[in-house]
Symmetry: C2
Subunit: 208 residues, 2 copies
């Protein structure tokens, strides 16, 4: 996500003052902290910079836009809190994966962060690309579970892993963005069961 003069390191040895790592951490942490607050305090570049004790230019030196900061804060946590699952069965893998995913995304702070990132992704094409890339990694992780199950011969032939993946993340994002129903671990487990059933069997009369 970093831009700025980072690529000059390839051309010649670095001189001058180095990046302040404490400032980087403060910025990312403050973003999550501000978003997590109950008062709907506006999360603007100015409030982030002020709360992090940092100049605005320090933010723009390392990130191309406000959305990019939000995305990195989000990515950091998502990559952390969702461990790969390998229980040996599709049902087990799927339930573990979706439980962890829904647990994280169901937290109020994380949900708000996800919403903001998705908004920025719609507003700025560069952010759209970056977000798409992050989400592609998440989809790939989930698709892996179905593909392993297919290799084991667990799933019916003709099963479309991409559709199954979109059904899972679709429920997640739809609920986060619309807010008509909560993301609970119970619903994650129920969804896991439904998708397992879908992958393992076919509708009556359908080939395969």
């Amino acid at each position: 996500m970093q831009t700025g003069s980072g690529d000059q390191a390839a051309r010649r040895p670095h001189t001058g003052r180095r990046r302040n790592e404490a400032a980087r951490r403060a910025i990312l942490d403050v973003v999550v902290d501000l978003i997590g607050r109950d008062d709907d305090a506006p999360v603007t570049i100015d409030t982030i910079a002020a709360a992090a004790g940092v100049g605005k230019q320090t933010i723009y030196r390392w990130w191309p836009s406000k959305g990019a900061v939000l995305l990195e804060a989000m990515t950091e946590r998502a990559d952390l809190d969702i461990p790969p699952s390998d229980t040996g069965t599709l049902a087990g893998d799927l339930e573990a994966f979706l439980r962890a995913t829904f647990r994280l995304a169901g937290q109020a702070t994380m949900a708000r962060l996800l919403r903001k990132v998705m908004v920025e992704a719609q507003l700025d094409p560069q952010m759209g690309e970056a977000t798409r890339s992050f989400l592609a990694r998440r989809r790939s992780a989930l698709r892996g579970l179905f593909e392993r199950a297919a290799e084991r011969g667990e799933t019916a032939p003709g099963t479309d892993p991409d559709l199954l993946v979109d059904q899972a993340f679709g429920v997640l994002w739809y609920r986060i963005l619309v807010g008509h129903a909560p993301l609970t671990e119970a619903s994650a487990a129920e969804l896991a069961g439904a998708l397992t059933a879908q992958a393992v069997r076919r509708a009556p009369g359908e080939p395969g």
Copy 2:
């Protein structure tokens, strides 16, 4: 969606000049037209007013926000182009419903309109409520198909219609917002088959 002095009509007979219906239509049509253009012309209140040959105040007299105009333009078309389906079977109803829905939402202009509405819904709580209310109507229409099937005894006991509905609309919105895969009628049909399979049977070992 209208506000302004509309509620005064209840208190006393209307006097003075009436609302210009041609202006209303021009505004809603111009919104769709501007959004549909290939050049990513910004769809701002000023450009809408100018293109519709209307003063900004005329917009704000009848809609509370820009998002509300977008939402009404979207609602108008959605309520129109998705007929209720009643083929007698869940598979048939579901496929007809999802085909019509994906066909409409898959059009470039409509997809962009949906994206913008969803963004506004995230940015403004009042818009969030209005959007939620529209989406609730759409969910209710789809849920009706599953409930009718349940009355016919077509679905397995323990089937959760709300989860099925969220899977369907989840795929739609997820694909629209992320843009990694198109909304085709073929995928609508495939999804309809998958959800039918899910509702009709249960995973092995699960009760019901």
